[in-house]
Symmetry: C2
């Protein structure tokens, strides 16, 4: 297939996007060139601007322009609660649930001694600074339910308990709308162990 060089390069470049293969990249390139040149111009500028301006919030490490992200700068949030998550995607998921009004800290990774990722690589000294904040009462662990996630949770728990803080984890169990017959045995076992007293209200 003989595409002209700039067109071929645009297709190749679009493939850096997740889930975009050759076919989708072709369709995207044609769409931009044929139907949305101003959108394409805007996209190029937005990428350049994001790369240039976005760094990590010095308090929670979310992507942000200034020193502090909008959440850390918001004095309406609850200083008593600190939610520790692994990645920006996890942070977005929790924030979009609308169920949490406290503060965040992003690990930007997980402890994984086999891959040489220890507390220093995750810069957990920045977390220790957060744990020293006087208003803080509870650390909520929202790390993944994987081996590395568990190891990371264990380490953070030690740090937090060392400072006399309450440490909690997200509940594990049956998801909303989950039908019991399709739930895997490990999840059911966690749901049984984590059962709670039930009262009619």
């Amino acid at each position: 297939m003989q595409f002209s060089p700039s067109f071929q390069q645009l297709i190749e470049a679009l493939r850096c996007l997740p889930t975009v293969g050759q076919k989708t990249a072709q369709r995207m390139a044609l769409h931009l060139l044929e139907h949305d040149r101003s959108g394409a111009q805007g996209l190029a500028q937005a990428i350049e601007a994001a790369l240039e301006k976005l760094g990590h919030c010095k308090s929670c490490r979310v992507f942000t322009e200034g020193e502090l992200c909008p959440i850390c700068a918001d004095d309406q949030r609850d200083d008593r609660l600190l939610c520790v998550v692994e990645s920006p995607a996890d942070w977005i998921a929790i924030e979009q649930s609308g169920a949490f009004q406290g503060r965040y800290f992003l690990l930007l990774g997980r402890l994984s001694p086999l891959d040489g990722i220890g507390p220093d690589e995750l810069h957990l000294d920045q977390l220790e600074v957060r744990l020293r904040e006087p208003a803080l009462e509870e650390v909520i662990l929202a790390t993944s339910a994987t081996i590395e996630g568990e190891a990371t949770a264990g380490y953070v728990t030690e740090l937090a308990q060392g400072r006399g803080l309450k440490v909690t984890r997200l509940a594990q169990g049956v998801p909303m709308g989950g039908e019991l017959e399709y739930i895997d045995p490990s999840t059911l076992s966690l749901a049984l162990r984590g059962r709670r007293e039930h009262r009619e209200e």
Copy 2:
């Protein structure tokens, strides 16, 4: 959800891509910022370069850098065959089949009198120039099997026959691997009318 402005703008900008909604745009933005900053830089540059450099081939109207696209400039292609397609996407589909070695002309639209799109809007005078090429013998109509596609095919047929050229259309019928019970009645009807004599070889 409080994203910082550049991050929010990047998400919005990514939504100009076809099939990309809010969730996918978020995932793409995070991926670019977290895992592929050099890919993101390359994408911004490829878009800028494509917008700046790509115009239409003056002969067939495919996207290209110079005056002529690689196919029109290739003297190995068969000058006797001219395939008329509607869009760059159709052109790519035929070219990728590897079954056609002739020349192309892109209509970049369809005749649609109700929408005010006539021969002048499609610049069919450029097609007439192609039809006057001395080596040309056959015009292959590869327009869509829609009402506008048929109308466009009819108009191109008149132009070509007026110059004594043979005019053919893509065969319509059962697709490769198609199971008869799932084929729609109109397609089956076309396949019956277009039946061919069959011989063991």
